[in-house]
């Protein structure tokens, strides 16, 4: 089997938002809609402050709450783990949007453009079927499918890889098949400590965050010590969200 997943290395991400821009360009999302976005989180109090840049978006969950609640079956999960939306079936009830714990879904009631009037690019890419229905990150599913049809490897060959991953200047984002132990993402997960967001909700996100290496230098004792230590205050000292 294949299970496509995204890996974000929090140590590498510099919050440059290139992935955000690449996603907007590749998917022609309107103003206010960001299928890929990077949060700027700040923890602690001066002078002991830490900062983290956290890419977020649809987590393509194993058990997607959005699919469970969808009354129309517009939201589906493919065997390879990618969660899709059929814009021709969706009624735009937004139940999926309130059910998603990752705030990954958007509904745009009417066409809007970055500078009021549609640019050439916006005119060419405007898609009426995406108005008044739910939209979200697709993992650039068309690129994946097209690439696979050409014998390319998603996550390795850029033409078969999501735009955000291709654009990342720090190689903080990686994409691949976590069911393949030899894949790039499986290797990253094997070599690093990682977590998934809101794991306690049982959604099984297909989006992993690397936060530290997992090698001999990091002894079990050291890890146990860190586990026992109080977690940093997860309430950030400031909310520097991206809009």
């Amino acid at each position: 089997m294949t299970r496509w997943a995204m890996v974000a290395d929090l140590r590498r991400c510099v919050g440059c938002q290139t992935c955000t821009a690449a996603c907007k360009h590749a998917n022609a999302t309107p103003p206010g809609v960001q299928w890929r976005r990077v949060l700027d989180m700040e923890f602690g109090e001066y002078p002991d402050v830490q900062r983290a840049f956290v890419p977020v978006g649809c987590q393509h969950c194993d058990e997607p709450p959005c699919m469970e609640v969808c009354p129309t079956t517009a939201t589906k999960k493919r065997p390879d783990g990618i969660v899709t939306i059929d814009y021709d079936i969706c009624i735009g009830c937004a139940y999926c949007a309130v059910a998603c714990p990752y705030q990954a879904r958007y509904k745009t009631q009417r066409a809007t453009f970055a500078y009021g009037k549609a640019s050439e690019h916006e005119t060419q890419r405007h898609d009426e079927s995406r108005l008044a229905v739910a939209t979200k990150c697709t993992y650039c599913v068309d690129r994946i499918d097209d690439g696979l049809a050409q014998g390319l490897v998603p996550g390795v060959d850029p033409r078969a890889t999501p735009a955000c991953v291709n654009s990342c200047i720090a190689e903080a984002l990686a994409f691949g098949d976590i069911d393949d132990p030899q894949s790039n993402v499986s290797q990253l997960l094997a070599e690093n400590q990682h977590f998934r967001m809101h794991e306690e909700l049982g959604t099984g996100p297909g989006f992993f965050y690397l936060w530290d290496r997992d090698d001999g230098a990091d002894s079990e004792d050291a890890r146990a010590e860190r586990r026992a230590a109080p977690e940093p205050d997860r309430a950030p000292s400031s909310n520097k969200g991206q809009s």
């Binding site: 129309t72 139940y95 229905v133």
Partner: protein, 276 residues
Amino acid sequence: MTYGPNPWHQTNWDWRAAANFMGGGAGAGLIAFAALFGAPAWVSLAGAALVGLGLLAVWFEIGRPLRAINVLKNPNTSWMTREAMVAPFVFAAAAAPWFGVPLGAAGAVPALAYLYCQGRILNAARGIPAWREPLVVPLVIATGLAEGGGLWLLFGASAGAAPLAPWLGFALALIARLALWPAWRRRLASAPRALVAIDAAGRWFKAATLLPLAAALVAAMAPPPSGAALLALQGAAGALAFAGGLWFKFTLVTRGAYNQGFAIVHLPVRGVRRSR
């Protein structure tokens, strides 16, 4: 719009979605009370009208109203589909007395099922801590029944004093929502922003539950007031319970529906590991 780790209020469902829970809950509760305790045929129809108004409001909210029929496509997992499927039975049960078809207490079954669906709709929304808490299901049902019982008493006040049984049913629904409220609220400790809105509404909600409950006690225990005083008490108690339930559900959808934001359970380790 600002994104970040701090929870913010959902922006997808507004007063129109709230109206579905308000009208649907009160209407289904009224139909259930009318079926259980009897009422003129128009009372059930009034309940159906409330349910219909709620559905109409939500129809105005969806992005593609001309495709609304697609709402019926996912009975396997979606409580919204199930609610839509139960709705015709609610209308049929409400209309039956008007057409001289006595359903008796069985007429309450679709209405109760409708209330249950509404509770589960909220409960299935895992993005909203105040909704996904399982106690929201019995709370929504109890509130709907208290609202419906309140309307039953309010409408019945014009026809004369209500007997003891409906007062008892009304009191039980009020006691249930009064008991469930703090239990549900206690489980929302991790959603402080939602709690601010919920607590603000809670004061009114509790007052609109306790006062009608006191009225039910006065009506049930001798010596009751008589004549016009009793009818006024009955009408006021019913109206208050109805209004309290509406306010709670309006708040639940439009003011207390904060998401949980984003959270990372480990900070990235860059360079030398921190000792803590």
